[in-house]
Point group: C2
Chain length 342, copies 2
C-alpha cells in the first residue's frame, strides 16, 4: 500500500494535511495489558525476533489509539545480535552486553550486518505489517553513538563516561566503530524500507550528552553517512534525541528530513535553528504529562500544537511512552490532536 | 578569615582576578584513596554527620589539587533527615527514601528545619573548616525540585515521572512541599553562612528535566524564595543544574549571583542569555574529559577558558567529578587554569 498521501507522510514532507498527524514513541509495549500478557510467556528479544509476535505487538496500539502511523515493535539492540554482540535486555534495567567494546580488536571482531542473513525476522515482521496496516509503518534503528554507548559501557549509563573516554582515548578505533555501525544501520534501514516501511526514524537518544564540538567531531560524520546511504530512498527520514537543544542545528545538518525533539525545547523556537533541508518537526509533549489530570494534559498538548503551527508538524511525545501510562489517555490525546483547529 | 579578596570571591563578583579560579563539584569523595579508606569504616551519612570526618574529607582535595575554594563534604539529603524524612544513601544507587511523599498529608508531616537542632553537626563542620581553610568554603543545599524528586520518587529516577505527576495532579500539595523545602533550605544555607561559609551553591541538578513553562509555574517561585531569604547575606550565591540550556534565563531570574552550567552549553553563548544581575558564570568542562588523554583534556579546558573570557568566570566541571577520575589529572588541570594567560 502506498501511503504517500497519508497525513503522516504529507506532514513529514511539509505539505498540508487534514489534521496534525500523531503517533507515540513506544506506543506499543508496557502500557498495554495485552503486551504484558505476551511478556509473561516471552522475553523482549523473543517478541522482537518472532515476526508474528512483533507484528501483533506493533498492531496493538494502532486501532486502539487511532494513531496516524505504526512503529515497528523492536529494540535498537536487535541488529547488534547479528553483528556478534552478546546482548540481552534485562527487565527494568535495559540492554546488558556480555562482551563490551573496549579496544580496536573488539571493534574489528564486529560483523557488518547483512540484513537477509542477520535480521530475516525483522524483514518478515515489516512485510507482514506493510500488508496489514492501513497507516504508514515507521521502521527504525539506533544511531551509532547511542548504540556504541551500550556496547562500550556494557549497560545503560547516566554519564556515558566509558564511551566518551573510548572516543577521546582511541579515536581511530572509535571511528571504525562508528563506521561499522553506520554501514550496518544503513543496511538495516534500507532492508526495512525495501520490505515496506514508509518512513524511518534514527534514534540517537543519548547524543544530547555530548557538547557540540564532540558531536561534530566524533559522531555527526557517522550519522551523515547513514543519511547519505539512504539518499536514494523516497521515504521521510526522522532523527531524534533527548536533551539535544544545544546541538539541534548540528544534528539537522547531518541530513534528516524531520527533526524529532524532546519536551525541553519550544517547537516555535526550534524552527529558527533548523536549516531549510528540514521539512518538518516531530514532538514534543513531556511523557510525564500523560500521567497528569486531563485539564493539565490538554492545556499542554494545545500549547504544543500551537507552537507546532499546524503544518509540517507531527505530534508526538518528547520521549517514549512511560510504562505506567493509561492507553485510554493516549487515545483521548489522539482525538484532541485530530480535532484541533478543524 | 575574610575571603572577600580571594580570587574565587572576586570572580563571583565579576571583579578582576590574578588568575581564573577553579574548584570541582564533588572534588572531595570517591576519586581519593584516603576517602575510600574512610568509607570502609563509615557510611556516607556517617561521614556527613560527624564534623571531624566531614571536615577531613572536605580538606583532602584542597591542598592536593590546589583549588581556589573548598566545598563542604555533605549530601543534599542531609537536612531532610532532620525534617522527618527516612533517607539512606545506597552505594552505587543514591538516596533511598523509606517514606516517600505522595499526598498533602505526607507534606504536612514534614518538620521545617531548625538548623541548630536539626543539623548541629553541619554547623560544627563549617566552623572547623572556616577556621582551618586558607581558601573560601562553599556551603550548599539542594533546591526544592531536586530534593522533591527524591522525596516523591523514593529513589533516583531517570524520568521524574512520579514527581511531575504529583506536581500536576496535586498542585496545592506540591506548592506546600516547595515552600517547606524553600524555607528549610534557606535556614540551612543561612546557618552555613553564619558558621563561616564564604559562598553558597544551590544544586537544582534535575531542574533541566522540566520545560520552561513548568519550571516557571511550579519551581521557580520556590527557588526565588530562597534567594530572597538570602538577600541580606553578603556572600555570592550560585545556582547550578544539568541540561538546563532551555531554562537558563528563567533560572537566572530567580536571583542568584552566579550561574553554574553544564558542558552542553558554550559559556560565550550563555552570557547573552543572562540578565544583568548575574555577575559571573561557573563551569563547564565535561567531567568525562578528565578520563581522556591529557592533550584532549588540555585542548578542551583551554576552549572552556577562552569561552569563559578570563573574567567573571569560575572554572569547574559541568557536573560532579566522576569516581574513576585520577586526582593527579585534576591537579594538573588546576595548574593549567592557573597559568592560562598569565
Amino acid at each position: 500500500m502506498n501511503h504517500r498521501d497519508s497525513n503522516f507522510i504529507r506532514a513529514c514532507r511539509g505539505e498540508s494535511t487534514d489534521h496534525t498527524p500523531v503517533w507515540f514513541m513506544r506506543q506499543a509495549g508496557r502500557s498495554f495489558a495485552e503486551y504484558r500478557e505476551l511478556r509473561e510467556k516471552h522475553s523482549i528479544l523473543e517478541l522482537c525476533r518472532t515476526p508474528d509476535l512483533a507484528a501483533e505487538v506493533t498492531l496493538q496500539p494502532v486501532d486502539r489509539l487511532g494513531v496516524d502511523a505504526a512503529i515497528l515493535f523492536s529494540d535498537i539492540v536487535v541488529p547488534l545480535l547479528a553483528m556478534g554482540v552478546d546482548v540481552d535486555i534485562k527487565e527494568g534495567v535495559g540492554p546488558i552486553i556480555g562482551n563490551p567494546i573496549r579496544s580496536v580488536e573488539d571493534v574489528d571482531r564486529l560483523v557488518p550486518l547483512v540484513a537477509e542473513e542477520g535480521v530475516p525476522h525483522v524483514i518478515e515482521s515489516v512485510r507482514i505489517l506493510a500488508d496489514e496496516l492501513k497507516v504508514p509503518l515507521i521502521g527504525f534503528g539506533g544511531a551509532p553513538f547511542t548504540l556504541a554507548s551500550y556496547m562500550v559501557e556494557g549497560r545503560p549509563s547516566k554519564d556515558h563516561a566509558l564511551t566518551k573516554s573510548f572516543m577521546h582515548s582511541q579515536p581511530d578505533a572509535w571511528r571504525r566503530l562508528m563506521d561499522v555501525l553506520a554501514d550496518s544501520i544503513t543496511e538495516y534501514l534500507r532492508a526495512q524500507i525495501a520490505a515496506g516501511a514508509s518512513a524511518v526514524q534514527l534514534f540517537d537518544s543519548w547524543a544530547g550528552s555530548l557538547d557540540a564540538d564532540d558531536y561534530n567531531a566524533h559522531v555527526a560524520p557517522a550519522v551523515a553517512r547513514i543519511f547519505k546511504g539512504l539518499s536514494d530512498e523516497d521515504v521521510p527520514r526522522i532523527l531524534f534525541g533527548v536533551a539535544t537543544g544545544e546541538i539541534l542545528g548540528d544534528m539537522a545538518a547531518t541530513g534528516p528530513d524531520v527533526m524529532g525533539v524532546d519536551w525541553r525545547v519550544h517547537l516555535d523556537s526550534v524552527r529558527s535553528r533548523m536549516p531549510e533541508t528540514i521539512t518538518a518537526l516531530q514532538g514534543n509533549l513531556d511523557p510525564a504529562l500523560a500521567l497528569a489530570p486531563w485539564e493539565v494534559l490538554e492545556a499542554k498538548a494545545r500549547s504544543v500544537l500551537e507552537r507546532g503551527g499546524g503544518r509540517a508538524h507531527i505530534f508526538n511525545l518528547g520521549h517514549g511512552v512511560l510504562p505506567s501510562t493509561d492507553p485510554g489517555v493516549l487515545a483521548r490525546l489522539v482525538d484532541l490532536v485530530h480535532t484541533w483547529r478543524t
